[in-house]
């Protein structure tokens, strides 16, 4: 159960409905995820979060599926169960296969291991990889 109630469309203010409508149109669905219904308790947060999600996750220099895989990878690193499940669904819709999911998990595990190995030994950055701007 969430710490705030879920606001259903029929109980929503017009500001909240406008966001729900945009979500449903943009995603071509009539389903609103729980996260939006909970965020709707604070309409300004709902709008800001949805706008950022819509803008950032849209295909650009990276395509849709690559962005979803990156979102998944961060959520696995932070161990966010809700996010893994919802973005697993989004990534599947964008074409992720079981084999691709397994490779994301492998890279995420490797990087989490590697990040700590480097920190433990306090390896200095090779001169050729130093940022210089």
């Amino acid at each position: 159960m969430a710490i705030m109630k879920k606001i259903e469309y029929t109980d929503a203010s017009s500001a909240v409905r406008a966001v729900y409508d945009d979500i449903m149109t943009s995603r071509n669905t009539d389903y609103i995820n729980n996260i939006w219904k909970v965020l709707a308790n604070d309409p300004a947060s709902l709008k800001r979060n949805w706008q950022a999600m819509k803008e950032i996750m849209a295909p650009g220099a990276l395509d849709k599926i690559t962005k979803e895989l990156i979102y998944l990878a961060v959520s696995m690193t932070n161990q966010c169960e809700y996010c893994i499940n919802t973005h697993n669904a989004a990534a599947r819709k964008a074409g992720m296969t079981d084999a691709m999911f397994a490779e994301v998990v492998a890279v995420v595990g490797l990087a989490n291991q590697g990040n700590r190995t480097v920190a433990a030994y306090q390896v200095e950055i090779d001169e050729r990889y130093l940022p210089n701007k």
Copy 2:
């Protein structure tokens, strides 16, 4: 400075040289990154880490650049400076542009923000996204 000395090729045991040789051949370079030179203090760790890196980061269901972007995304989440710089270089070599880098940062930021928002509100997983296996 690292907490252990860097083992140069000329000072390395044959077990360590075998790994260095494989790194240079696989990557088509004559340069060995600092991380490997430090790990060489423990040849078993050097070999295991290199084998995992070589196997996991090879193109498979995901291509090389996608894997590098995911590695970068995890390293940004964990704020590992060494890893961001070395995998930035690897991703550039695999074709990452400035625009792609900027989009990785944006998705990583969004996911780190989203993961905490969901945790804060303790949003329950929508029934349709529940894992069921």
Copy 3:
């Protein structure tokens, strides 16, 4: 279920009862939270944890509610469900409203996003903000 049993008052040693009594007096309640009952398996840890909590969370240069909001913010960042729920209750008791909770979540999300953005770009500290002591 916890990994250790919960020690109830009637089954507690006098050392544990002394802490329980202090908790109930200090908080003006007859209820002991599960965390204390589990920590009671190691009376020294129970006493040390309670003393630190009592001392640190008392009003000082910061008032009670500000301290509770900060505790909540850290727990959201670390995604600790138990801590979010118990400190949500404590913050409510100290005056936190729904609107304040929503703003804590927004700042926590923003900071988690911002921390990674800065790390990703490896932004150097502006000279004027450098610590100098």
Copy 4:
């Protein structure tokens, strides 16, 4: 050094200048922090980040200083040096004293310790604190 160059006002596009102008007006300063100059490499990110910062950190149900303390607390938890220094400056400007800073550190330490203690013992949420919405 950052991984991207810093865009100075004189070299900035009009879109970037518009954000810089808004930052300087809103903050009543003629100084632009490094983070914005680096983000300016991707004008859409610059604008989105600044808008979120401006909107979320404005006084609302919580006042300016409380929001800055929360931002600091998250940055300490994530160990982001750049963010600690810049938001230390912002919190000082909003009235934070040395004593308040020390209390933020103490609460942040306590919460980070407490979050892991609860996780280690896997303490179940007391029925009275369960979210129920």
Copy 5:
């Protein structure tokens, strides 16, 4: 429920069975933990993960129980419930008592608190502790 189905021995390929056999022989048990059954969906990951676990957790310069306590400490820090429970069982088998478990929790809490205190104050490393290699 897991996001992938658990592969039982009778349904497993010969490659997966070979790993299961090695797990059962090495651990002197006829039980295969859920993590291996889920990883079996990707036989290469199963084999690599098991090999790393077997090699790294074997007694060496550190004995079995010390390695299990370290694994537990990391899992408590990352708040991984599955890992705490399975490695609690492994540590118990290796001789961990309730008192030892309580001391691990105390050190883990102290270190998580200390890590943030040092970050918050940005304490510079004492010259005598600087790595110099």
Copy 6:
């Protein structure tokens, strides 16, 4: 540089000197680490942190070196450079060899990788490992 100045013995109040004296006696040294000199800006925090460190890190059910290895493991996981260096020194003094250090790093890397693998697949706890108290 730290965000607060370091308080030297000659400039310290009697309350701070009492802690410094106890540190030097307990550790049989005439050197005070930077962390204590910075914490001395808030004498109550200095005393509480030192008391907790002294009590928790003392040999008990676990011996001194095991506790230092656990402290190191957490600091590697959190990537705290100051803590890795100072506790590396403490662990060396307690008998840690290069080979032991390398094995700590390997277990820490494995656990950080394993924690995310389990989270990614959302593996449910095996019934036999469920906490039941």
